[in-house]
């Protein structure tokens, strides 16, 4: 009897999980089909490749944020980080013409910020939403002070720097998209097949339990903060390339865009639940909506209203499914 009971339960769970991503895919397909039908330009290869390039920024940051959310924390300072991380990059480029050095410095900056966030949350025990809200202000202000609100243009003329954000392989596949997929798959693998990955879920699922069986919760969360910030600064590098400058206004509102996307993708704000595939779909949905509405020349007012509406509906549908089982 227990076995029967058991099997029924598993069956149900299996279905739920299948359904969840499936549901997201459906909404994605519907949206895709809609724009395909309404705009002559949406489906042309050129535009599709643009979309890939455009979603790569929020997605790369989104992977990091998903990791963080899965282990039960959040980081809303990633928007300000977009501006911070680009500074050393472009300065190094202009100064030394070495892209490698620039990128390294950008990632290092990201790591540094991640370490600060991590310390604030794990050592000083400040809730991550608050700690990173503080950093969100502090970092943005710091950039204003440092730059005096004058953007730093890239004068190195480095072709490669231009290409990482704007270039395409075979005039179709954006470099940034390749980078995105590499990062996406690597971390999908890590989450699924490494002890570290599973422990992220364990910590997010129930930190006390994780602690009680000897998982170093602090270390796990700390590392997640660092990874999140480093990946965000990767997207900061791409953004800098797309903007051709380190810009004090870069990344304003980026944090909400990414949070909304991954949560839309089924990554739970309360930790322990979510997949990178879901996050990917979530980012795609929002990216396609932006692109598609643009293709249809929908004005900003309606863009805001429609996007907001779609976010609410998608999440609502997802919740409904969860309850239906």
């Amino acid at each position: 009897m227990e076995k029967a009971l058991e099997n029924r339960r598993v069956g149900v769970l299996k279905r739920i999980f299948a359904v969840n991503e499936f549901g997201l895919l459906i909404s994605l397909a519907v949206i895709f089909a809609f724009f395909g039908a309404t705009s002559h330009y949406f489906l042309i290869p050129r535009n599709l490749s643009n979309i890939l390039g455009q979603v790569s920024l929020p997605l790369i940051a989104g992977v990091g944020l998903s990791l963080l959310l899965i282990c039960g924390e959040v980081d809303i300072s990633i928007g300000s980080l977009q501006a911070v991380a680009a500074l050393p990059l472009v300065h190094a480029l202009n100064g030394t013409h070495s892209l490698a050095l620039g990128v390294f410095l950008a990632l290092a900056t990201g790591a540094a910020v991640g370490i600060i966030n991590g310390l604030l949350v794990t050592r000083l025990k400040i809730p991550s939403l608050i700690a990173t809200l503080g950093m969100y202000y502090a970092l943005r202000g710091a950039v204003y002070l440092i730059t005096g609100k004058v953007a730093v243009a890239d004068r190195s003329g480095s072709e490669l720097f231009f290409l990482i954000g704007n270039g395409k392989v075979f005039r179709f596949f954006p470099y940034s998209a390749i980078l995105m997929f590499v990062i996406l798959f690597v971390f999908m693998y890590i989450l699924k097949n490494t002890t570290y990955g599973r422990r992220l879920y364990a910590v997010g699922g129930n930190a006390d339990v994780a602690r009680s069986i000897g998982i170093d919760v602090v270390k796990i969360k700390f590392s997640a903060f660092v990874i999140c910030s480093v990946l965000s600064s990767v997207s900061a590098v791409l953004l800098a390339s797309r903007l051709g400058s380190a810009n004090h206004l870069a990344g304003t509102g980026f944090e909400f865009q990414v949070v909304a996307a991954v949560v839309l993708g089924g990554v739970s704000l309360s930790g322990g639940v979510g997949t990178l595939l879901g996050a990917f779909i979530g980012v795609l949905i929002l990216g396609i909506i932006q692109n598609g509405l643009g293709m249809l020349n929908v004005n900003t007012m309606w863009q805001l209203v429609i996007t907001g509406g779609i976010i609410i509906m998608s999440v609502a549908i997802d919740e409904l499914k969860k309850r239906r089982g």
């Binding site: 227990e2 076995k3 009971l5 058991e6 099997n7 339960r9 598993v10 149900v12 769970l13 693998y189 699924k192 097949n193 490494t194 002890t195 599973r198 879920y201 364990a202 699922g205 129930n206 339990v209 994780a210 602690r211 009680s212 069986i213 000897g214 998982i215 322990g272 639940v273």
Partner: protein
């Protein structure tokens, strides 16, 4: 090795202090290979402190721990796991969203050469271990979907997965049905044969004498006695535990069914109740001044019935009448207005507001009565709650104390107080004494009796046979979501009940 008489674990003069309390005061305790050593005592006696020290959750202040004769340093959970000590706490240490296999190997997943998790091997080994303790469940199923007993087994499987030498079980049976308990005991015997020593913490004395070899009693942080079960008895142990002898565990001063049932109309009437969740065509009635006990194995639908009557779950068919008036389902607030109270089986999740004070928790349901025009009369609130704290002898430093700092028994009393402060017609108690020590148990049984005496209709869902036979006037037995038997307390035996329960 032999100089320590084959003891796998020895605890010497352990002392642990918390601000204001001396939780452990020079306690000795030792455990032989393949022995089941019961550890009993009222809440606050120091049982949980001791096992938390063994688990590496707390660090001891004084004394020493010998593991296999060698001094052992346990400063973190990892240390104790490395030694081979596995503590199975009441709040099971499982991650609901992860699979059985993952939970079994959570501390250290089997890896391939390239450091990647070897899912195949992990699942195979999990299946083997589960089969070795006779539990045929899929290693891929999510733990969140398992029954409590299955989840316990997953924890035990975890212990086996890294050859634990000592397994500590903290009230493992409190959430189990009789045949699940039998199953657990079988597993424990298997462990014994493997030479694993088991520390068995429980409140159910009958179990102590059924499964364990020796029993150690703690009280107020001190060691009272350690005896082989053969050389002692329930009364003696109880006396050691509470320091006095409890006259009776099940006082009954209320007249019971005979007078009422015939006389007045029933307070609660359930007619052919069916819900999506589980219940199939359930009918029953409870009269004022009557205690009706509902028995059933885990998954029989006891809790579901409680929730459905209270109006937490929508009902498909049938109806619920309170003194003849139909109850609107799916609206707890309406049920409370109608004078129904529900004490759910999980205190923390569905009962207490942990960061609220004791008095605020007590007055939560009846706060309206303590307010005029919505303004709370603080003076009255404190008086009333103090009155209940005294009447139920709830142990708390102050009314302002956050309820999260109280012991399980006292928390349960707080919840009872919450309902009794409101004038009810019917109260539904789901596992009212789960995880509560003997003393508190007796007090709660006494309260149940008093409630009936005051003319309340009481519906008690329980999986503990003694409790069932002790408190109820009438006994309903459930199985697979429907009522499969009804017995007056006087003429029935455990056998009849169990027979009906597995129908």
């Amino acid at each position: 090795m032999n100089e320590n008489g084959g003891y796998v674990l020895q605890v010497r003069e352990i002392v642990k202090e918390f601000p204001g309390v001396r939780a452990l005061d020079g306690v000795r305790f030792d455990l032989a290979r393949g022995e089941v050593h019961a550890l009993v005592g009222e809440n606050g006696a120091g049982k949980s402190t001791l096992i938390k020290i063994l688990a590496g959750v707390y660090a001891k202040d004084e004394g020493e721990i010998l593991f296999e004769g060698k001094p052992a340093v346990i400063t973190s959970p990892t240390d104790s796991l490395r030694l081979g000590i596995k503590v199975v706490f009441q709040e099971l240490a499982l991650i609901p969203n992860m699979t059985v296999a993952e939970n079994v190997f959570l501390e250290s997943f089997p890896l391939k050469k390239n450091k990647a998790i070897d899912w195949v091997r992990m699942n195979e080994r999990t299946t083997d271990i589960l089969l070795s303790i006779g539990l045929p469940i899929s290693p891929r199923s999510k733990v969140g979907g398992l029954t409590v007993s299955q989840q316990q087994m997953v924890e035990i499987a975890r212990a086996l997965s890294h050859e634990a030498k000592v397994v500590v079980m903290d009230e493992p049976t409190s959430a189990l049905s009789p045949n699940e308990i039998k199953f657990l005991f079988n597993v424990m015997n298997k462990l014994k044969k493997l030479g694993i020593g088991i520390v068995y913490v429980t409140h159910k004395l009958e179990e102590v004498f059924e499964i364990s070899d020796r029993v150690t009693v703690l009280r107020d942080g001190r060691l009272i006695s350690t005896k082989p079960v053969g050389e002692t008895g329930t009364d003696e142990v109880v006396r050691d535990m509470v320091g006095r002898s409890i006259t009776t565990l099940f006082p009954r001063t209320h007249p019971g069914s005979r007078t009422h049932a015939a006389a007045n109309a029933p307070v609660l009437q359930v007619e052919n109740l069916s819900t999506e969740k589980k219940l199939r065509d359930v009918s029953l009635s409870v009269h004022a001044g009557e205690v009706v006990g509902v028995f059933g194995l885990l998954g029989a639908g006891r809790s579901e019935l409680a929730k459905a009557i209270f109006g937490l779950d929508r009902i498909n068919r049938g109806r619920i009448l309170i003194e003849g008036r139909e109850l609107r389902s799916g609206s707890p607030s309406h049920s409370v207005k109608m004078g129904i109270g529900l004490l759910t089986e999980n205190r923390k999740e569905e009962g207490l507001v942990l960061q609220m004070s004791v008095s605020q928790n007590i007055t939560l349901t009846s706060i309206r009565e303590l307010a005029t025009l919505g303004l709370i009369n603080r003076k009255m609130e404190t008086e009333r709650s103090r009155e209940f704290v005294e009447r139920f002898s709830i142990k708390t430093p102050s009314l302002r104390q956050k309820v999260m700092f109280l012991s399980g028994g006292n928390q349960q009393k707080v919840l009872l107080a919450r309902w009794l402060m409101k004038s009810l017609r019917l109260i539904i108690l789901d596992e009212p004494t789960r995880g509560i020590d003997v003393g508190a148990k007796a007090e709660i049984h006494k309260l149940i009796d008093e409630l009936a005496k005051e003319g309340l209709a009481v519906l008690v869902m329980t999986s503990e046979m003694p409790e069932l036979l002790g408190v109820s006037d009438r006994i309903l037995v459930m199985s697979k979501g429907s009522v499969t038997g009804e017995f007056p307390r006087e003429q029935t035996t455990q056998e009849d009940i169990l027979a009906a329960a597995i129908l």
